[in-house]
């Protein structure tokens, strides 16, 4: 009798940890997708990607709490600001650097990360802002285990956006143009694709998807510096998935999400905060192209 009780508690914990992990993983994938888009299309390694999440979280908090907007409008406003932020980053920060070496570009994106963080702290301060519930917070039974609704919504929203973006890359004219530019810029120019517009689009998409991820995170944990800490997990995800692989980023997001969740649940002691970076280092040592990094096609 007692045995069975312990067993079912064990299963329950496991299911809950799994769902938490997958939810976090879906958000991570969404956040990291923008990084991959920018890297693929423009070749830039964007160290500011995690801080776009922070901006998103505070924007939606400000929209709802400071401006009393309905949550829907607050999200729309945050996304519009995100797109503008992405476009401005491309136009004023990176375009002047075209042709500069990789290290300078990386330094500039690191600088951008500090600027974004500083800006958020300057405008909204550093104390955590609890978020009014806008995604329903109740619980539902899933596989006989109570699960909070906002996690399920996080998975649904992140999944839907990832699916839409995948479709966009496979089917739409602009999606194919972006992949063409990622493949061969000059050949893309020769078929009339404006490389400049593709770069702008890449940054806009990157910022928008990250801000959306930031909004979902804020809904789970409130708006605080923690969002940026969560955003930094983008790097282990993209390194694990391969810097340029969209499917890779989705799978790696799930892996890192689960890993953090299980470590927190079964080991604890703060190891969960370190484990993604241990993975990062291991991958860099063992498989620098990640699990799914695109193979350079060498036949010609």
């Amino acid at each position: 009798m007692e045995q069975a009780e312990v067993g079912s508690a064990y299963v329950e914990t496991f299911i809950q940890l799994t769902i938490t992990g997958l939810a976090n993983g879906a958000i991570l994938s969404l956040a990291a997708l923008g990084f991959v888009i920018v890297f693929k299309a423009t070749g830039v390694i964007n160290f500011a990607q995690g801080y776009f999440l922070l901006v998103g979280a505070y924007l939606v908090w400000a929209g709802m709490v400071q401006f009393n907007l309905p949550w829907f409008f607050a999200v729309i406003v945050a996304l519009v600001v995100a797109v503008l932020m992405g476009l401005a980053t491309e136009r004023f920060v990176l375009r002047p650097l075209v042709g500069e070496n990789v290290i300078s570009v990386i330094m500039v994106t690191i600088g951008l990360a500090f600027v974004l963080q500083g800006l958020v702290q300057f405008i909204w301060g550093t104390e955590p802002r609890p978020m009014p519930a806008f995604i329903p917070r109740g619980t539902v039974e899933l596989l006989g285990v109570p699960v909070t609704l906002n996690r399920i919504w996080a998975v649904v929203i992140a999944g839907a956006v990832l699916a839409a973006l995948t479709l966009f890359f496979q089917r739409s004219r602009h999606g194919i143009a972006m992949r063409a530019v990622a493949d061969d810029q000059q050949a893309a120019m020769v078929v009339g694709i404006s490389v400049r517009k593709v770069f702008a689009l890449a940054w806009a998409l990157a910022a928008a998807s990250a801000v959306l991820a930031g909004i979902i995170v804020a809904n789970l944990f409130g708006a605080s510096g923690e969002v940026a800490v969560f955003g930094l997990l983008v790097f282990p995800v993209v390194i694990l998935g391969g810097l340029d692989s969209v499917p890779g980023v989705m799978i790696a997001g799930a892996i890192i999400g689960l890993l953090v969740s299980y470590t927190a649940g079964y080991v604890g002691g703060g190891l969960q905060q370190v484990i993604p970076y241990i993975v990062l280092v291991l991958i860099l040592l063992l498989r620098p192209y990640g699990l799914f990094g695109e193979v350079r096609i060498e036949r010609v």
Partner: protein, 288 residues
């Protein structure tokens, strides 16, 4: 009588086309004394002038490094992406000055380039490559897909394949098909025969000829394979060190003793000369 004539070495004041020259019909593309410099110091085109009449096939021949690809890149607005610049002269397309027009705009105007080395989008499928080729089109391009598959039935069988893994010949077909998707008025091909087996070269040249005949597409063909190029061309230009040194109707050029000597590899004795002989001879005698 042959109407082959030497290009004016300095390229100065070249305006009146020779009688019987390529300018009898409407001009589609004209280069006038074009000078191109890479990296602000490397002078590559030195007064390049040529004319491509509407509806014709024009061959541009010349040895390695003569500046053929540079000429095409200059026309297409690709030089800025290679730290190159047109520093003098003009390029007109259908009477409009396009000397400094950007690449995307050039394609919209009806000028397509099939680049040297094929340059298909390796990670895209065959059909995605073709869709990318129609990027500038606002109207439906379903018919054009069918047309391309009609010209290249092999591509139709391979439409779902990743382009990077196609054979060289298939990639060349895809590159031409992709350019065709933009519905160009003029198609420029940079060494389409490069690295292909003779059979495939014939097939590709055959299709180029058919595109010209059926669709009325003007063709500017850059080639090392002078014999085959002159075979399908109406008019030919020979380029050396950044300018035209010889031009004429293709048939006359193919008969020209110098051309035979240097580009067709046939000596006056009618024998094929070895490359080294030709090289040696070339050093002694230049058209310049």
């Amino acid at each position: 009588m042959s109407s082959v004539r030497n290009g004016d070495a300095g390229g100065q004041g070249r305006s009146a086309p020779a009688p019987g020259g390529p300018a009898d019909t409407a001009l589609m593309l004209e280069l006038n004394n074009v000078e191109v410099i890479y990296e602000e110091v490397i002078l590559v085109l030195r007064g390049m002038s040529m004319q491509v009449p509407e509806g014709k096939i024009v061959a541009l021949l010349g040895s390695n490094g003569a500046g053929k690809s540079t000429t095409l890149k200059a026309i297409c607005g690709l030089l800025p992406s290679e730290h190159g610049e047109i520093t003098d002269g003009t390029i007109t397309f259908g009477g409009i000055d396009v000397t400094h027009t950007d690449a995307a705009q050039i394609v919209r105007m009806g000028l397509s380039l099939v680049m040297e080395g094929r340059r298909v989008f390796g990670h895209l499928t065959v059909s995605e490559n073709l869709v990318a080729g129609a990027h500038t089109r606002r109207d439906s391009h379903a018919d054009d897909l069918d047309m391309v598959y009609g010209y290249f039935p092999r591509l139709a069988d391979l439409r779902g394949r990743t382009a990077g893994y196609l054979s060289g010949g298939e990639q060349q077909m895809l590159a031409i098909g992709r350019a065709l998707m933009a519905r160009p008025r003029i198609m420029m091909l940079d060494e389409p025969s490069l690295g292909l087996a003779p059979m495939l070269v014939s097939e590709i040249f055959d299709i180029v000829q058919r595109l010209n005949r059926d669709l009325g597409t003007t063709v500017l063909l850059v080639e090392q394979n002078a014999r085959r190029a002159l075979n399908i061309a109406d008019h030919g230009y020979i380029m050396e060190q950044g300018r035209i040194v010889l031009e004429g109707p293709a048939a006359d050029l193919a008969d020209n003793p110098d051309v035979k000597e240097f580009y067709l590899g046939i000596g006056e004795s009618g024998q094929r000369r070895s490359y080294r002989d030709v090289k040696h001879y070339k050093r002694r005698k230049r058209w310049l």
